[in-house]
Symmetry: none
């Protein structure tokens, strides 16, 4: 059985086309009242509508019907990876989320500070949700932990949460969580689930011993538990699959991290969409593919703030002229999932998607919205096929079979 | 690779939502003349149309394009099981169809009475299609067969057909048919196809010996053949997959049996749709999920009786107000397959389906019919995904990945 990745790997060719994928995080929505308009349908989006009129539309299903994805599987799908096949471990995702770029020899672990009583039993699994500022100081102390033959990286996340990264040759990522999920008992020992992870478990044990010596006098955070051990996920790169030199222009570390997992270069240091457009322009000649991430259509949805999501959608719309001025060969505008303000959370609803190129077989849609996209030329499709469509529209795929 | 059932098992959460799945058996149809209306489109269905206007529609493909399913795979699909992966053996389906509730230690077998000549060769493979009433009397005699360490259950089906069920620890279901598929030769011996079924074959042999002693003087039904040996299919339950306490309200044994195979409770003893609605109401507080089965849209289609199928569809429509009066969170109306009167048989045509909830992303459909559903928000989808959509719309699935 030939799989889609084999097709990409075998059929891709190079040319001087440019592909832009603009992702409005959580772009899809719902009306507040049945029969009403969604956030995207309410927003005034003349630039997107103009592109829709020339392009083709559809609805992208992030995973499968009914499944609401987190940011990890949501973006992997858009990048052309089956999100049910390529799984990013919790530790790897947490590390990625704070901007740690995972290397092939890394094992990342999510850690929690906890409070231990005089007998070494856990009295609070989250160390009283210690304030981030306090936690940060303790995490810095832990950077003193040295383990022979291993580079140890410790970084704060938020409150009682931090990340530990072990960097050394041949470390497996299959180690059991040490959080016993209850109080009144001590943290568990890290136990390897396969031979390749034996050394990782040993290293984790040493880390815990040395860390506890350092923090033993902390009033709240005098212990720690470890969860979600994970090696860097084995994901074939954009270069390998598509032959694309790809760049990511994002503001938040999580999305930079996800892009770097598939081999994109992280470019610029933009703080907003205008600056992202500037980075795009400055780097236009250096890359074949640009992933541009816009966070606020998701965060406003999560807040349940319909009106602000509408405004943020209009902000996204305003980026289109700067993109089109560069004369891209293929433009895709989509989302990694829906985040309806009505639900205040990621949802399973398929995401409005537009694809523009000179050969996209334009459909009858003239407005970018959930109901119009339902009638579009791309139909309803699994997100993992979008990159194949992008490649085809860019003239970057040769035919399959003779 | 994570499969859809893994997702259901891992992501489901519990809440106090109520899901109703109303199945019009064989609901989909065809016009009698090209360009005409189908049975459903001809029927006056104001209640279904009202629900369609608020909900979202689509076409459910029972298995894969072109495949017309029997009741077994048709319902397994609706219940969220890939009908190509979860197979119900013929014996298990026959037993289920007459209301025998299969247990984990059971092996069910379809049996035929046959006529044997003086040499023990089959002269009639169906015992002259002996009348059901006569057959029933002989089957009752067979209930006298005792086998050490095994509970033997014998039940009539129709004409020359009956079911035997062996109940004992550790019986495999892989035993070859004993029907030689020709006359002039004796029935074959039951032969095990794997080690685990050795004892089953031995038990079957003993059963045949003892049964033949009892029926040896019958004029027609003096012998028997055995086919479709099958253990209870290993199907994860609704409780395990979805965390749902589920009930089935059906009139016919086959559908009660199919529902019990996936762990639904069979409730009430309704003889018609009005009584089914009464059972629903009485049990509303006791369950999370209700499967309601309506047979007559299928049987009238099988009869080729277009007009009566239209009337029966209108009867189905009339049940909607009683359901909506209970204020369900999610309502699904669909069929396990199409049964167009034009074809007088089950068909492969996708089945009109509506889903109503407060967050279903309503589409433009206002009439329940094959052509309108083609434009609906659910698109054309494989039936096995319908339960995931039901769960999502009920707020019973957490997100996948972080």
């Amino acid at each position: 059985m030939v799989d889609y990745h084999d097709l990409m790997r075998d059929l891709h060719v190079k040319n001087d086309s440019k592909i832009v994928m603009l992702v409005g995080d959580g772009l899809g929505g719902l009306p507040l009242q049945p029969g009403g308009k969604t956030e995207l349908e309410t927003a005034n989006t003349p630039n997107l509508d103009g592109l829709v009129a020339k392009g083709t539309c559809g609805l992208s299903m992030p995973v499968l019907p009914g499944i609401a994805p987190g940011s990890g599987p949501g973006h992997l799908g858009l990048f052309g990876y089956d999100p049910l096949k390529f799984l990013i471990g919790r530790g790897a995702l947490e590390a990625t989320g704070i901007g740690l770029e995972l290397q092939a020899n890394d094992v990342a672990v999510r850690c929690n500070f906890c409070t231990l009583d005089a007998n070494g039993n856990i009295s609070d699994r989250r160390a009283g949700r210690i304030a981030s500022d306090d936690s940060k100081v303790i995490v810095e102390k832990l950077q003193a932990v040295k383990i022979d033959g291993v580079e140890v990286i410790v970084k704060p996340v938020k409150e009682h949460r931090f990340v530990v990264l072990f960097r050394a040759e041949g470390l497996g990522g299959k180690v059991r969580d040490t959080d016993p999920q209850q109080t009144g008992v001590p943290p568990l020992d890290p136990v390897a689930e396969d031979a390749a992870s034996q050394r990782t478990a040993e290293i984790a044990k040493q880390f815990v011993l040395k860390a506890r010596e350092i923090i033993k006098d902390e009033p709240k955070a005098n212990g720690l538990t470890m969860r979600g051990f994970s090696a860097k996920p084995a994901i074939p790169s954009y270069q390998e699959l598509y032959g694309l030199k790809a760049a990511a222009i994002a503001v938040y570390p999580m999305y930079k991290g996800l892009a770097s997992l598939v081999g994109m270069d992280i470019i610029g240091d933009a703080a907003d969409l205008d600056q992202q457009m500037e980075v795009l322009k400055q780097n236009w000649d250096k890359y074949d593919f640009f992933f541009i991430h816009f966070k606020y259509t998701d965060s406003t949805g999560e807040d349940g703030d319909f009106d602000t999501k509408v405004k943020r959608t209009e902000e996204l719309d305003s980026a289109i002229p700067a993109i089109m001025a560069l004369d891209p060969s293929v433009v895709i505008v989509t989302g990694d999932h829906s985040t309806p303000a009505y639900l205040k959370s990621h949802s399973w609803h398929p995401v409005p998607t537009l694809l523009y190129s000179d050969c996209c077989r334009s459909d009858a849609c003239t407005i970018f919205g959930e109901s119009t996209c339902l009638q579009g030329g791309l139909g309803q499709f699994e997100a993992k096929y979008l990159m194949g469509l992008a490649m085809a529209n860019a003239g970057r795929l040769s035919k399959f079979g003779a």
